[in-house]
Every structure is written in structure tokens, then in C-alpha cells.
């Protein structure tokens, strides 16, 4: 599976693994969108930690998820983006659509007393 989904309390992390190109973008977006709708997600985080390569198909993927989250009144965050991927994202103006580089949170491992907000 090229994406691992973690979901808790209307917040979802999609941990994308491997390359994002035209070949696998369709499966990625279908898996993510399906989980967003089913989980009634209000906050979507795309985690790029294990993304080794991304071309403009990745830009399309982020833009599409931005539109989806806007439609349902939610927000999109992009985390753990390597510098060579960030270059392509900024070129496309994605930094104006989604919040990039938010500190990571762990919704599935809540800490007592309100949680550990970095």
C-alpha cells in the first residue's frame, strides 16, 4: 500500500510512501478521499516523510485534496517535506493553499492532560 491512514477524532494523517507520479496518483487520491469522507475528517495532514520523488502529479494531488477539504469546511496541512519536494511545491504556489511544515502531532497516541501540543 502506498499510503497509510491514521484516523482519530475527525483528524487524519495520510502517510504517503514512495514516489508520487501519474502512475500512482489515482490510487493515492482514491484511498485518501475515501477515508476522508468515511471518517468525516475536518483536518487532513499529508505526511511526506517517506516520499522520495514527486512531480506535478503530486501538485495535482495536493490541489485536489485542498479543494476537497475546502468543500467540506476542513483544513489541509503538509508535513515533513524534503527540500527537493518543497521546491516543486513552492513553484506551484502550494504554500498559499495549505499550511506547510506544521509541527507533527500524534492523534492516535494522545497524552493525558490535554495532549502534547508542540
Amino acid at each position: 500500500m502506498a499510503v497509510q491512514i491514521d484516523l482519530a477524532d475527525e483528524m487524519m494523517i495520510a502517510h504517503i510512501i514512495g514516489d508520487i507520479d501519474h502512475h500512482n496518483a489515482k490510487e493515492l487520491r482514491e484511498t485518501i478521499d475515501d477515508a476522508v469522507v468515511k471518517g468525516q475528517v475536518r483536518e487532513l495532514e499529508l505526511d511526506f516523510r517517506d516520499v522520495s520523488f514527486m512531480d506535478s502529479s503530486g501538485i495535482g494531488l495536493v490541489m485536489g485534496r485542498y479543494k476537497l477539504m475546502k468543500e467540506i469546511g476542513g483544513d489541509l496541512y503538509l508535513i515533513n517535506i524534503a527540500s527537493h519536494l518543497k521546491k516543486v511545491m513552492i513553484l506551484a504556489g502550494l504554500d498559499r493553499l495549505a499550511i506547510m511544515d506544521r509541527p507533527e502531532r500524534h492523534p492516535l497516541k494522545p497524552v493525558e492532560n490535554g495532549g502534547n501540543k508542540q
Binding site: D21, H22, H23, D55, M63, L91
Partner: protein, 145 residues
């Protein structure tokens, strides 16, 4: 200018070959000892051009994608990506950022914009019904500053 080294690659325009082709070109360019960023830029630009062949040129049929890569003196790399597909009727329009003729596939319309921003030079020639050639040029800087 005479090439110091060259390679040719041809493969079926199946999307699974996008990864194969950009990795193969990157492996060829690796002999110039490029930085990680330079390799990433070349992989991305090649991926854009090859994806265009598959999504647009061969939209309704399976065709062959041809790549040649030449290494010229001073670590100058020239990569040609050619198809025998439908051709581009209006090249300036196709190169406009955000323009795409395949919005249903969630294409961002940024393929040429990405190529132009990552490469030193991008040249596109096309003939309707005959095919398209994209030439990417990029100098690899020497690591010892």
C-alpha cells in the same frame, strides 16, 4: 558539439514506465557526480515529459516513447524525449501554467512550467499527427567549489 557519452532508451508508453525511465536517465547522469538536488531536478523534468507522452500524446492508444541522453563537454546534459503521438496543435498554449487538456485526471497543468523552472533550457517541437519532441538541457556543476 560532440557528445562525450550518449545513451538511447525506448519503451512502451505505459504509466508504470514513468518511474523506470526517470530512474534510468538519472542513473546515466550519475556518472557526472551530480548533487542530490541536480539528480532530483532531472528526474522530475524527465518524469513530466514522459508523463505528457503517456497522458496526452498516446491518450487513445499505446505507443513508444524514445529517450536519448547526451553528455557534452563541461558536464552539460541534453535529454530528448520523443513520441509519435497526436502532436500539440498550439505549443505556447500547452506551455501556459495551469493549462491542461486532461483536467479529469486531476492534472495540475504545470508539467512544462516545472520543466522550465528546473532545467536551463526546454525546447518543444511538435507536428500534429506526427508527434512531439521535448529537449531538456541542464549543466551539472562541479562539486568542488
Amino acid at each position: 558539439m560532440k557528445a562525450i557519452n550518449s545513451m538511447k532508451l525506448q519503451f512502451e508508453g505505459r504509466s508504470v514506465n514513468e518511474s523506470f525511465s526517470r530512474t534510468a536517465v538519472a542513473a546515466f547522469v550519475a556518472q557526472l557526480d551530480p548533487t542530490i538536488e541536480e539528480i532530483s531536478d532531472i528526474k522530475t523534468a524527465v518524469s513530466e515529459a514522459v508523463t505528457n507522452c503517456i497522458v496526452h500524446a498516446y491518450r487513445h492508444k499505446l505507443g513508444v516513447v524514445y529517450i536519448t541522453a547526451n553528455i557534452l563537454p563541461d558536464s552539460h546534459v541534453v535529454i530528448k524525449i520523443r513520441d509519435k503521438g497526436c502532436g500539440i496543435p498550439d505549443i505556447p498554449k500547452a506551455m501556459e501554467p495551469m493549462y491542461t487538456s486532461a483536467p479529469e485526471e486531476e492534472r495540475a497543468g504545470l508539467g512544462f512550467a516545472v520543466m522550465q523552472s528546473l532545467m536551463d533550457k526546454v525546447k518543444v517541437t511538435s507536428k500534429e499527427g506526427k508527434g512531439t519532441t521535448v529537449v531538456l538541457e541542464r549543466s551539472i556543476r562541479c562539486k568542488e567549489a
